[in-house]
Amino acid sequence: MGPVDLRLDAGRCLVLRGPSGSGKSLLLRAMADLLPHRGRLLLDGRPCESLRAHEWRRRVAYLPAHSQWWFDRVGEHFADPDAVDVGALALAADIMDWDMARCSTGERQRLAILRLLANRPRVLLLDEPTASLDRDNTCRVEALIADYRAAEAAPVIWVSHDREQAKRIADQILVLEHGRLAAA
């Protein structure tokens, strides 16, 4: 992988494309400091190493392609379940009381996005966040992220294979191939 040089301004949305196995997830995970890497990461001019690792990850939030859940109930995964606006993604009003087993893949994915945003991160690294969603829910997620970007001036890197979606949301589109970034 690399070398990769990337600068993202506040509130901008970068869509990342590339063939399977080209290292898109790898790049996002390295940016969240989840993988050992030799790169230099800066947030608002502050190097990654100046923050404790978990503090960095709270700010530079990575959403894995497959959502993971470990408690029995939905609400247990949230620090403050009542504060989460589940209606924004058309989820049932009482979903926080549900057993995880009752949630569909799509519901889990939308919950995972809400769980990530609840941390109020500074940067969003989203790995195919709408791959398991239908059109309506895809639009809702796009709108929610757009609102978040506008409200928090948060830059977003969005991995997507959907060219139509890229046109809708992207300020910039880059392709990752053979470990290098190129303009689309």
Partner: protein, 266 residues
């Protein structure tokens, strides 16, 4: 009460039982027949050898010999701990972690009991120190092996969950906390069960041995209680230490999960 001495013929009769079992498992195609015979042979040879070693040790009471025996037992236990793990730590950690935890825990508990409770003369009198250490290591080994196996197995299975927890800003300690607790419990449950069942459901081997050898039952019982307490403490401390250090070694300084530090199973 006098001790009935066993002749080789007596043992040969008992061996016929094992042979019958081996034939039966051959009949059922368990694939265990040969393994069973090898294990029975090993038990015979190993115990005879250790009997000879103990005989020599008792005849030449010297701290150096006792310590050497203890170290050999420890190293064998360490090897066994490593062998029993499907996914073990790579490099020196694979052998070192279990062995070091057992060393610190089993040796210090045994030493404490030898010096303060028993007060034999000299304190390392092999008639007491070697059996005590042997029972400690045998049980500590079980606990540590179970706990470490559970730890690495669970971390491997739940790697995606762990990464998600980290990505959500949890510290490594928070992320691995439940797995760590679970591993410690698994290591300690056998001795807790053994203590709860002792006397009611099972007559512990050491106590039975002493009674067979002619000790008054209550004296044997007191020794068994002492041993049970030692094993509980030794197993518990060793398990906690091995799991704590092991769990920390699965993450690096930047709290990243480093799965390449464990092997990928057979």
């Amino acid at each position: 009460m006098s001790l009935i001495l066993l002749t080789p013929l007596d043992l040969a009769l008992a061996a016929l039982l094992v042979l019958a079992l081996a034939l039966l498992s051959l009949r059922f195609r368990l694939g265990l027949g040969l393994q069973l015979l090898v294990a029975a042979l090993r038990t015979t040879v190993q115990l005879l050898l250790v009997g000879l070693v103990l005989k020599a040790l008792f005849a030449n009471v010297h701290l150096g010999w006792v310590a050497l025996m203890g170290i050999v037992m420890l190293l064998a236990a360490g090897r066994e701990v490593m062998r029993r793990q499907q996914r073990r730590f790579r490099g020196a950690w694979g052998y070192g972690l279990g062995t070091l935890s057992m060393f610190i825990s089993a040796f210090s508990v045994t030493l404490l009991v030898l010096l303060t409770v028993l007060g034999a003369e000299p304190w390392y009198e092999p008639q007491y120190s070697i059996p005590l250490l042997g029972m400690m290591l045998g049980n500590t080994m079980n606990g540590v092996a179970l706990a470490l196996d559970r730890l690495t197995q669970q971390v491997w299975e739940k790697r995606e969950q762990l990464e998600t927890r980290l990505a959500l800003g949890q510290t490594a300690v928070e992320a691995v906390g439940e797995i760590r607790r679970d591993a410690m419990r698994v290591g300690m449950i056998p001795i807790i069960n053994a203590m709860a069942a002792a006397g009611l459901i099972s007559l512990p081997g050491m106590m039975t041995g002493q009674i067979l050898a002619g000790s008054p039952p209550l004296e044997a019982v007191k020794y068994q209680i002492l041993i049970m307490f030692m094993i509980a403490a030794g197993t518990g401390f060793a398990t906690m230490m091995a799991v704590t250090v092991g769990a920390r070694h699965l993450f690096d300084r930047r709290e990243r999960l480093r799965l390449e530090r464990i092997t990928d199973g057979r």
